[in-house]
Symmetry: C2
Subunit: 203 residues, 2 copies
């Protein structure tokens, strides 16, 4: 068994199916979702420490100033961030911590946190992506055009990613993520204690 | 499907079981064995282009001088080398070309050939390695001591490898190699044509 877990960052355009895929990554396979911290007020039913870590703007700024977020951003006047402490705590428990995040956020995290892999999820073609967005039937043509524009921009950064997974079938995409994570667990740098034992420097 | 195959280098000390594992990597999973070139005379039953590429010392030197070997060495007055042309030909056919080779050879190849991964196969402990060598009952205590010494030297270079696979059960080790190769096939750099298609620069 590897020494510890791993941060698994999953990006992909709206319509890539990443939400569905992420829901199918099972705790019994050692996956755990990253939990964001936010200054937004809890909605009815949301539980602190499960859905989000809720905090005040001052608390947020404090953590941010101490480099306590792997990435952070502001939406609609609220702050959101990925707290480092939670990711590190889960990784120490040998979990694969899943962080679903856009490309800019992903690249920010990669710079700050070495023990991570970046997976880009995408439908087989841009045409297919467009079809999926149209079939949703919830978005205006302008929103769809905007999402496609963003997707094309994100695709340009694929070579910054470690793995590219074509999501043509949900279960196969999930299977591939499992495979990637298990393969990554075989890196010598994630098995220092085994290597030490083999080297005879530890029994 | 990835654009092309991959050179899969497998190293591990004598007693690590790498020969048995390599035999179980199946052609139906796209594996193909690398074929060495040698100046040694064919033995009865050995077929040129299957067991080895047999050649004269002059032919060997010619190829070597043109940088045609990924690595080469001399044993008992004969030359042996891994011809680049065969590896490239198989990789172009989307094969995972398996090269079983010692650590020094592996590191030579890695420098010369980018599209490769290095897998180190090892029993769970050095004690287990010793037990396996003793159980073979074919080697003198001196030979066993020599093999263990080499194993300890090789283990020091594990961090140069991409993957470390503990071979405590043959079938599981084979499964892990399959997994690693499939995960490596998801690298963006091995899926340039898919990326181009997504970028719209190719239909």
């Amino acid at each position: 068994m590897a020494d510890n877990g791993l941060l698994v960052i999953i990006s992909g355009p709206s319509g890539s199916g990443k939400g569905t895929v992420v829901k199918k990554l099972r705790p019994e396979n050692n996956f755990a979702l990253s939990i964001s911290m936010t200054t937004r007020k809890p909605r009815p039913g949301e539980i602190d420490g499960i859905d989000y870590f809720f905090c005040t703007p001052d608390e947020f700024k404090n953590i941010r100033d101490q480099n306590g977020f792997l990435e952070h951003a502001q939406f609609c006047g609220n702050f959101y961030g990925t707290p480092r402490f939670y990711v590190e705590e889960q990784i120490a428990k040998n979990k694969f911590v899943v962080l679903e995040i856009d490309v800019n956020g992903a690249l920010q995290v990669k710079e700050k946190f070495e023990n991570c892999i970046l997976i880009f999820l995408i439908p087989p073609t841009m045409k297919e992506l467009e079809n999926r967005l149209i079939l949703r039937n919830t978005e205006s043509p302008e929103t769809i055009e905007d999402r496609l524009y963003r997707a094309r921009e994100e695709v340009k950064l694929i070579d910054k990613y470690d793995y590219l997974i074509i999501n043509d079938e949900i279960d196969k995409a999930v299977e591939k993520i499992n495979m990637v994570v298990m393969a990554e667990n075989l890196r010598p740098s994630r098995n220092i204690s085994t290597v030490k034992k083999l080297n005879g420097s530890e029994k």
